[in-house]
Symmetry: C2
C-alpha cells in the first residue's frame, strides 16, 4: 500500500518533486559544474523564487547550508561575541541554547514547561543580549510563538536601547505597535540605536508563517519540512544589520568560523555560488518547489493550511480520549499538530501504518504519550480527512 507521510520532517515529498527529480537527472543537473553559468542561473532562480515567496527584501542575504542545525551554529558564531538569549520551550530551542554554550558564549535562557507558550510581557531580556534566539515553531511540542509576540519583544528591546520608556506599551495596542515598528526600527538604526538581533527558527513553519523581515535579522529553515523535499539543505536569511555585526566581530578579531562565515558566504552568494561544492540538486529542487508554491499562490497555501489545521484540531478537541497537547489555542502550531494519546502512541502508530498513514511519535519524554501530525503543503485536505477517518474507526 502506498503510504502517506504525516511526519514532521522528513515527510511526504511535495507531489511535484518526483517529476522534478526526473527532469533534473534528464538534464544532468547533478553533473553540472558548481562554478558554471548553469548552476549560477539555478542558484539565482532559487533565491529569487524564495524572495518572492517569502517576501524577503532584496538587500537580505540568502545562504545555503547543510541543515537548520548548521544555521544555529553559524548564527551564534557570526553575530554573538558573548551574550545570546534564548526562549526555550522544547528540544529545538534547547538545541539552539546548547550550541551557544558549546561555542563558549554566555548564553542565557527563559524556559517554560513543555507544551506551554511564553508570557511575552513578563520576559526580561538581559541588557547585554546581542541576539535573541526564538524557535517560532517548536517541532518537538507543537507550540508556536505568535509573530506579534516576537515583534513586541524586538520593539521593547529597541525602545530600551534607545532609552525610551516602554511603560506605555499596551498589549491592546498591538496593531498600532506593529504598524509603527518599521519606522522606529529604521530610524533607530540610522542613528545607531540598535537593539539586539533577532534570530528566528522557522524550520517547521516556513513558508506558511508570515515574516516581517524588517524585524527578523536572521531567519532559517530546512527543506524537508513544509517544502516537502529530501533532507540535506538548510536556508539562512541574513539582514544587512546582522551581516554588519558579523563584519564587525571579524574586524575585532573574533572568530566567526571559516568557509561558512557570513563574509565568505556573502562573497560567493553575490556570484550565485557557494564556497564549497553545495547540494546542487537540493538547491535546484527547492527552486522548483518554490515556483510551484508561487503558481499555486502562497495565500492559497496558507488558507489550505489553516483549513486543514482547523479540521484536525476540531476533531481532537472533540475526541473522547486524544486531545491537542497544546491547551492554549493562541500557542497552537498550525503546521505541527501535537496530540496527547494517553500513553497509546505505541498502539496508534502501527494501526495508522496498517491503514497507510505514517505520523510521528511524541518527542523525547513524550515519545509514548503524544503523536505529532504534520500539516504541510504536501498533505491535502482529503488526506487529512482520511487520516481522521482512520482515527474514528479505532
Amino acid at each position: 500500500m502506498k503510504k502517506v507521510y504525516f511526519t514532521v520532517g522528513p515527510t511526504q515529498l511535495y507531489p511535484t518533486v518526483k517529476e522534478h527529480i526526473k527532469t533534473a537527472i534528464r538534464e544532468d543537473i547533478p553533473s553540472i559544474s558548481h562554478r558554471g553559468k548553469r548552476f549560477a542561473d539555478i542558484y539565482k532562480q532559487t533565491a529569487d523564487n524564495l524572495r518572492r515567496l517569502m517576501g524577503i527584501p532584496s538587500d537580505y542575504h540568502i545562504f545555503f547550508l547543510g541543515s537548520a542545525t548548521e544555521a544555529m551554529e553559524r548564527i551564534i558564531q557570526n553575530t554573538v561575541k558573548s551574550h545570546s538569549f534564548h526562549l526555550v520551550n522544547g528540544a529545538f530551542s534547547k538545541k539552539f541554547f546548547t550550541i551557544a554554550l558549546q561555542l563558549g558564549k554566555m548564553a542565557e535562557k527563559i524556559e517554560v514547561p513543555l507544551g506551554r507558550g511564553f508570557d511575552i510581557k513578563s520576559i526580561k531580556i538581559p541588557e547585554q543580549t546581542e541576539c535573541i534566539c526564538i524557535t517560532q515553531n517548536e517541532t518537538s511540542t507543537g507550540v508556536s510563538v505568535p509573530t506579534s509576540d516576537i515583534y513586541y519583544l524586538k520593539h521593547v528591546m529597541q525602545s530600551c536601547h534607545s532609552e525610551r520608556s516602554v511603560s506605555g506599551v499596551e498589549e491592546s495596542h498591538a496593531t498600532k505597535l506593529l504598524s509603527g515598528m518599521r519606522s522606529l526600527h529604521s530610524s533607530a538604526d540610522s542613528v545607531g540605536m540598535t537593539g539586539p538581533l533577532v534570530a528566528l527558527d522557522v524550520v517547521s513553519s516556513a513558508p506558511y508563517v508570515r515574516i516581517d523581515f524588517s524585524l527578523a535579522d536572521m531567519t532559517f529553515f530546512s527543506v524537508q519540512k513544509l517544502f516537502g523535499l529530501p533532507a540535506g539543505l538548510g536556508v539562512l536569511i541574513v539582514s544587512p544589520k546582522a551581516f554588519e555585526k558579523s563584519k564587525n566581530l571579524f574586524e575585532k578579531g573574533a572568530g566567526i568560523g571559516s568557509y561558512h562565515n557570513f563574509l565568505v558566504m556573502e562573497e560567493y552568494s553575490r556570484k550565485y555560488q557557494a564556497h564549497e561544492t553545495p547540494n546542487v540538486l537540493g538547491i535546484y529542487l527547492l527552486g522548483k518547489v518554490c515556483n510551484d508554491f508561487l503558481e499555486k499562490g502562497i495565500d492559497t497555501i496558507r488558507k489550505e493550511t489553516e483549513e486543514k489545521a482547523r479540521v484536525i484540531y476540531e476533531y481532537f478537541d472533540n475526541h473522547a480520549k486524544y486531545k491537542p497537547g497544546v491547551r492554549e489555542k493562541k500557542f497552537r502550531s498550525l503546521t505541527t499538530i501535537v496530540i496527547d494519546t494517553q500513553g497509546e502512541t505505541a498502539k496508534i502508530l502501527p494501526y495508522l501504518a496498517e491503514n497507510g498513514f505514517i505520523v510521528s511519535s511524541g518527542y523525547g519524554e513524550f515519545k509514548e504519550n503524544q503523536i505529532r501530525i504534520a500539516n504541510f503543503p504536501s498533505i491535502s485536505l482529503e488526506d487529512a480527512e482520511r487520516l481522521l477517518g482512520v482515527f474514528a474507526s479505532t
Copy 2:
C-alpha cells in the same frame, strides 16, 4: 545529444545511480524518519560498505558532513589547539591552510610551485605541529602525493617525537620502512610517543587510492567525485587517536565546535544517526554505490583506472601540442588528469561539447591554459577512447 561528463566533480553519475534514485523514491527513502530503524539500517549499511571497500578499521569512526570543505574545518577545530602544518601545492591544499588561519591557528606551510610535487625528504616539519594536512590528490593541478611519501613523513615525525635518530632512513628502504611502521606506530602510541596526526584529503582519489589507515588519522572525501553521486555529502574517517585528541582538547576547554564536533558525532554515529537531519538520500545512495563497487571489485576498479590513465597520459605524452601538466610521472594523478593546452582551452571545450564530451577547464590562473579530465569509475575505457578520438580529429 547525451553528454559524457569527464569533469572533476560534480561529474558523470555512476551508471547505476539513476536506478538507485528511482528505487529510493519508490521506497519512500526521502520521507523516512532519521530517528527510526530504517534509517539506522541504511546508515549502518553505508558505513559497513565503506569499511569493506576502503579497508577502514572497525575502531575508526565514520562521520557524514555537508562537504569535504566542512571536513577541513572540523579537523582543524577538533584536533588542532594551535599548530597545524600544511603541504600546499594547489587551490585545495591552500584552502585547508586558509581554514586553519580563519580558525585562529598558527598554521604553517610548505609550498611548491603549481604542477610540482614535494621533495618529501627536504620537508622540515615544525616541532610543535599537531596535525600535518596533506592533499593527497590536488584536483586543481592534477598533482598527487605518493602515499609512500605520506607514510615516510609520518614515520619521520614519530621517530623525532620518540627522540630516535632518523638519519639512517633511506629512500631505498621504503618497503622495509612501510612494513615496519605499523609496529612502530602502535608501540609508540602505547608508550605515549605519539607524533602529530595526519589529515589526508582524498577528495578526488578515494576509493582508488590505497590508504594505510594505521598511518592516516583523518581521511576525507566527498561523493561527487569518484563515487559519481550528486554533491552535498562529505565523509570524514577518524582514528581513535584523533578522536582522543578531540576529547582531550574538549576537556581542556578548547572550543571544538558544536553539533559537528567529534564527540557529538561519535555519540550519534554509535546509534547510526546524525545529530541534525542529515542528507538521508545521499547516505542511502553512497551505500548503494559502495555496494556496486564491492560487487565489481575494488581491484578491478583500480586496474581499470590505471589502464584508462595509461591510455590518456600516453596519448598526451605523444601529442604534438597538448602535454600533461604534471611533468614528473611519479606525481601525476591517475584520477584527475591535467593537460596543458597552450592557451587553447577556450577552443577545446566547445569543440568537445559539440561532440558530446564535457571536461573541466583549468583551475584559477590556469583556466585558459589547461583542461582537467576526470578519470573516475563512472567513465569507461571506451568513453576515454572516444574522447581521445575527438581530440585526434581537432
